[in-house]
C-alpha cells in the first residue's frame, strides 16, 4: 500500500497509512516508573490513551469485594478544584470521551480526544487530575455505593449473571479470581477502604500507558511524563496466587427463565504461555470460529437448540478460564448439555481434522489485518501487550506463530489444559 487518500485536509501532508505490517510499538519508562507503549499514527486527528493499573478485583481484600470497581468509578467524580459536573462539562466541551472498566487483573481509564492542541490539552489535564488528585468525596462515595448496590441487585435477578458468578466460584473456589462482589460486601464498604485501595494500587510501578495516534514521539513522552508525574513510586507489583484446579462438579440453580443457561469451564491459561497459540488455533475449530465451529454446527445448525454457543480461552495474569457457554429452552437443557459434552470429548480425543486445522489457520491469519484496522483496535492490542509484558514483536510474529501450530501441538496443549476431571458445570434454569 503506497498511497494514502487522506480524510482530512488539515492533515493532508501528515497522513500515513496504517500498514500491512503490524504497527511499530515504541516503549519507554517515565521518570515516575510507569511503562509506556506508543504507536505513532497521524492519519486521523485523534489521540487514544489507555491507562491500566494492576488494580483489578483480584487485588481486593475478600471482605471488601467491590472496592476495586468503586475506586475506579470515583476517580472521574471529583479532583482538586473541580467537582464531577465541572469535570464532565469540560470533557464534553472539547468532545472528549472517557471510559474504562475493571476486570480481574486491570482497572482502566480510556481517553479518546481530538488531537488539536486546544482540545487535547484540556482532556489530558483532566486525565492527569484524575490520576493525581482524586478527592473521593464522602457524599459522592455514598451515592455511588448506593448505585452499585442497585445495579448489583438487578444483575442478580438475571440468569446469565447467576450462571457466570456460579461458574467462577466453582472454578476458583477461594482464589481471588473466584471471589464475588455481594450486596453485603458493597454495603459494608467505607470511604477509608477506597482510599487505602487507591493508595496501594494506583502507583507508577503498577501502571502501563498505551498511547496511539496523532502525537510525535516527543509529544507522547511529554504527555506520559505529565500524566504519571504525581503517581507514587511505590508500592510495586504484588503477585496473584496460582489457582488450584477444581474437581469436576455440576451445579444447578433454579430460576423462572424460559431458557436454561449452561456454562462449563476450568482454569486453563495465563498470558504469555506458549500453549496460547495451539489452544487458540484448536479452539477455533471447537467453538471459537463463530458459524463454522463444531459446537455451532452441532448445537445450532443441526439441531436448532441454541441461538448462540461458543467456547473461548481468557488468559489472565494467572490461569484464566477456558469456557463453553450456551442457552437453550429449559425442556431440552439436559440434551443440549449431553451434546455439548460429546462435542468436547470428541474434540479432546481426536483434535481437529487436517481440513479444520487448515481452515482455522486461514481465518486466523487472513483476518489478522482486521484486528488492527483502526486506532481503537490497535490501542486494545497494545494495552494488553504492555500490561502483561508480552514481547514487543508479538503482533509481528502472530501470523507465524499461528502458522507453525501442528495437530500434535493442539492435542497436547488441550490434553494439558482442558482436563475433564477439572471441568465444572453450571446450569441455571435447567429445572
Amino acid at each position: 500500500m503506497n498511497s494514502c487518500k487522506c480524510l482530512l485536509l488539515l492533515v493532508l501532508s501528515l497522513a500515513a497509512p496504517l500498514s500491512d505490517a503490524a504497527p511499530r510499538i515504541e516503549r519507554w519508562q517515565t521518570t515516575a516508573g510507569a511503562r509506556v507503549f506508543f504507536v505513532e499514527n497521524h492519519a486521523l486527528p485523534i489521540v487514544d490513551i489507555q491507562v491500566d493499573f494492576a488494580a483489578g478485583t483480584a487485588y481486593e481484600n475478600e471482605a471488601q469485594a467491590g472496592v476495586a470497581a468503586l475506586t475506579r468509578e470515583l476517580l472521574e467524580l471529583g479532583v482538586a478544584g473541580m467537582d464531577e459536573t465541572q469535570i464532565a462539562s469540560r470533557m464534553a466541551d472539547v468532545g472528549a470521551q472517557l471510559s474504562g472498566e475493571v476486570d480481574r487483573d486491570r482497572a482502566s481509564l480510556v481517553l479518546r480526544t481530538l488531537s488539536m492542541a486546544d482540545k487535547r490539552t484540556v482532556a489530558l489535564d483532566l486525565l492527569r487530575a484524575m490520576l493525581s488528585t482524586p478527592q473521593f468525596e464522602a457524599a459522592v462515595f455514598e451515592r455511588e455505593k448506593a448505585r452499585s448496590v442497585a445495579a448489583l441487585k438487578e444483575a442478580l435477578t438475571r440468569p446469565e449473571t447467576l450462571a457466570s458468578r456460579a461458574l467462577w466460584s466453582a472454578m476458583y473456589a477461594a482464589h481471588p479470581y473466584g471471589r464475588q462482589t455481594t450486596v453485603e460486601s458493597v454495603a459494608a464498604l467505607e470511604r477509608a477502604n477506597v482510599l487505602a485501595f487507591h493508595a496501594a494500587h494506583y502507583t507508577a510501578p503498577r501502571a502501563t500507558l498505551a498511547i496511539v495516534g496523532d502525537l510525535s514521539r516527543a509529544q507522547a513522552e511529554a504527555v506520559a511524563e505529565d500524566l504519571t508525574a504525581a503517581l507514587p513510586a511505590s508500592p510495586g507489583m504484588t503477585t496473584i496466587a496460582v489457582p488450584e484446579l477444581p474437581s469436576s462438579s455440576e451445579q444447578r440453580i433454579a430460576h423462572p427463565a424460559l431458557q436454561a443457561h449452561l456454562l462449563l469451564g476450568l482454569p486453563a491459561l495465563k498470558r504469555g504461555d506458549p500453549d496460547f497459540f495451539p489452544l487458540l488455533v484448536g479452539n477455533y475449530t471447537l467453538g471459537g470460529g463463530g458459524f463454522v465451529s463444531r459446537l455451532m454446527k452441532a448445537v445450532r445448525d443441526q439441531r436448532g437448540m441454541a441461538y448462540s454457543v461458543h467456547s473461548y480461552f481468557q488468559p489472565l495474569a494467572q490461569l484464566g478460564p477456558f469456557q463453553i457457554g450456551l442457552q437453550t429452552k429449559k425442556e431440552q437443557a439436559q440434551d443440549a448439555l449431553k451434546l455439548t459434552r460429546e462435542v468436547l470429548a470428541s474434540f479432546l480425543a481426536q483434535g481437529p481434522s487436517k481440513e479444520e486445522l487448515l481452515a482455522a489457520k486461514q481465518n486466523l491469519i487472513g483476518s489478522f489485518p482486521l484486528r488492527l484496522d483502526s486506532n481503537s483496535e490497535i490501542l486494545g492490542s497494545v494495552a494488553v501487550i504492555g500490561f502483561y509484558g508480552l514481547p514487543l514483536d508479538y503482533l509481528d510474529r502472530y501470523p507465524d506463530n499461528i502458522e507453525k501450530v501442528t495437530l500434535a501441538d493442539i492435542k497436547a496443549a488441550f490434553a494439558r489444559r482442558v482436563r475433564p476431571a477439572h471441568l465444572v458445570t453450571v446450569i441455571v434454569a435447567g429445572d
Binding site: L44, I46, S89, E154, V292, M305, A306, Y307, S367
Partner: protein, 451 residues
C-alpha cells in the same frame, strides 16, 4: 472529485473538520445503487448489501418473517450449499453477519481487500438463488425462537420496550417487534419466507456499500460483473399505514423478573422528511444531547447526582427513520424513591426546558459532542459503511450527510425550547412501568451439589 471543501459553520466553532472521505456512486441498469468510499488506512474492506425491507413491511400473522429470512440467507443456494457462505467468508479471513431492523435488512462481510470479488460473487448469488429448504427452515425457526427467548422473553427491559411500542403505535407497523411475536414465528411456513424473498430481494430494492482500501472504478466494474446480470423486478406497493393522532396519555405496566423498577416515557415526534426544510428533528436531536448526551447533561447532573431520584436516566431519539418518530425517556429510581416520584422528576426536566430553554453553553457542548463523534467515526470503516447504508435505507441520500451536520449546527436555543413545548404534551405520551417480580428464594441462594 476529492471532497475537501470546508464547512464554514464548523470552522467558526474552531472545531476540526470532518470533510467527507472520497465517496463515489453509480447505479447499475438493474437499479442496484453502488456507493464506494475509499479509505486506504488499512488493507481491509467492508462489503454491505442493504435491502429496503424490514419488519415494517410485514403483514399480520407473518411478523418476524424479515428476520427469519435473514437467517435463511446463510442456508444455501444451488451453487453454495448450507453453511458454505460462512465457510467461504471464514476461509477468506473474514467476518460476516447480518441484521434486520424495522426499516431494512442488511448483510455484511469484513475481509482483506483482495477478497472483495469473492464476497460479491457470494452475495450476488444469494440475492436471487436462495434454496429455502423446508428442513433447514424448520431448524432455523427453532433457532430464532431461542433468540427471542434470550433477547426478549427472559429480559424484563426488552419486554417493557416491546409492550410500550405496541401500545404507542396502533395502526403503524412499528407496533410489531422486529423479531416478531412468538406465535407468529412458530407458525411461519417456508412459503412465507419464499414470498418475502421474491417480493423484496431484488437489485432495484438494494444498495451496495463498499468502504475500504479499494479503487472505486474497480469496485464499479466488479459490481457490474457480479450484480449486473440480476433482473430488476416489480416491487409490491407500500401502503403508508399512517398512525392516527394520539388522543390522550396511554399507561401500561409489565410484570417481569427484575429488581429495579424502570419507567419509560414515549412522546410522538417527527423525523426528517425534508433535509432542507425541516427544523424540528434537528432541534430534537440537540434536545436529546442536552438532556442525556454526556455525563454533564441534565439527567445525570440533576436526576442522578443532585436530587438522587434515579440510579440511571437516559433520553433516546433517532431523527432518521422510514416510519414515525418517538422520543424516549427512560429511568430507574434510586432506593426509596417511587416510580411516580421519578416520573414527576423526568417531567420537571422537560418542563424546565419548556419554561426556561437551554443555555448557550449547553447548546455549544451538545454540538461539540456531535462534531467530535463524526471525526471518531472515521476511525471505523464499519461505522462509516453503516452510516451510509442507514441513511440510504431510510431515503436520505448519503450525499446529504454534510447538510445534516450543518443543520444540526444551525439549531438555536429558541428552536430547542420550541420543540420541547410543541411535542412533549400529555396527549402524545405513552408511559410504561416495569413492576419487578422477585425471584423465588431458591434462585437467590443456590446450594452447590457435587457429583
Amino acid at each position: 472529485m476529492r471532497q475537501t471543501r470546508l464547512i464554514p459553520l464548523l470552522l467558526a466553532l474552531a472545531a476540526p473538520v470532518p470533510a467527507l472521505a472520497e465517496t463515489f456512486e453509480q447505479q447499475l441498469p438493474n437499479g442496484l445503487r453502488v456507493i464506494v468510499r475509499e479509505d486506504r488506512r488499512a488493507p481491509t474492506v467492508v462489503h454491505m448489501v442493504w435491502y429496503r425491507a424490514g419488519s415494517m413491511d410485514e403483514t399480520n400473522g407473518r411478523t418476524g418473517v424479515a428476520h427469519v429470512l435473514e437467517h435463511m440467507m446463510f442456508k444455501g443456494t444451488p451453487k453454495a450449499g448450507p453453511g458454505e457462505f460462512n465457510r467461504r467468508v471464514a476461509a477468506a479471513g473474514g467476518r460476516d453477519n447480518a441484521f434486520t431492523s424495522r426499516d431494512y435488512t442488511a448483510y455484511f462481510q469484513q475481509v482483506p481487500e483482495h477478497k472483495l470479488a469473492e464476497m460479491m460473487q457470494l452475495e450476488a448469488d444469494r440475492m436471487r438463488h436462495l434454496t429455502l429448504d423446508p428442513e433447514e427452515f424448520a431448524q432455523e425457526v427453532r433457532v430464532v425462537m431461542e433468540e427471542r427467548r434470550l433477547r426478549t422473553e427472559d429480559h424484563a427491559q426488552s419486554l417493557l420496550f416491546e409492550q410500550l411500542t405496541a401500545t404507542a403505535f396502533q395502526a403503524h407497523p412499528y407496533r410489531v417487534p422486529i423479531i416478531g411475536w412468538m406465535n407468529d414465528i412458530e407458525n411461519l411456513a417456508p412459503a412465507d419466507a419464499r414470498s418475502w424473498y421474491d417480493n423484496w430481494y431484488a437489485p432495484n430494492n438494494a444498495t451496495l456499500v463498499v468502504v475500504g482500501d479499494v479503487d472505486h472504478q474497480a469496485v464499479f466494474a466488479l459490481a457490474a460483473q457480479h450484480y449486473g446480470p440480476l433482473q430488476a423486478r416489480q416491487l409490491p406497493v407500500r401502503k403508508p399505514q399512517d398512525e392516527p393522532p394520539q388522543l390522550g396519555t396511554r399507561r401500561l405496566s409489565v410484570k417481569a423478573a427484575a429488581d429495579l423498577p424502570l419507567v419509560m416515557m414515549a412522546y410522538k415526534v417527527p423525523v426528517i422528511r425534508h433535509v432542507e426544510q425541516d427544523v424540528d428533528p434537528y432541534a430534537l436531536e440537540i434536545l436529546a444531547a442536552v438532556l442525556a448526551g454526556h455525563d454533564a447533561a441534565r439527567f445525570s447532573t440533576s436526576l442522578v447526582r443532585r436530587q438522587q431520584l434515579a440510579v440511571e436516566a437516559a433520553a433516546d431519539y433517532d431523527s432518521t427513520a422510514r416510519g414515525p418518530g418517538i422520543f424516549y425517556l427512560r429511568a430507574s429510581p434510586s432506593e426509596g424513591k417511587s416510580v411516580s416520584e421519578l416520573e414527576a422528576g423526568l417531567r420537571a426536566e422537560i418542563a424546565a426546558v419548556q419554561e426556561s430553554g437551554v443555555s448557550a453553553d449547553e447548546l455549544a457542548r451538545a454540538k461539540a459532542q456531535l462534531i467530535a463523534g463524526q471525526i471518531y467515526k472515521l476511525d471505523s470503516m464499519f461505522a462509516q459503511a453503516m452510516e451510509i447504508g442507514q441513511l440510504e435505507a431510510v431515503g436520505i441520500p448519503y450525499t446529504q450527510k454534510r447538510r445534516l451536520l450543518e443543520k444540526l449546527q444551525e439549531v438555536t436555543a429558541a428552536q430547542v425550547q420550541a420543540v420541547a413545548r410543541r411535542y412533549f404534551t400529555d396527549q402524545a405520551l405513552t408511559i410504561a412501568e416495569l413492576v419487578p417480580q422477585p425471584l423465588p428464594s431458591a434462585a437467590r441462594s443456590p446450594a452447590p451439589a457435587r457429583h
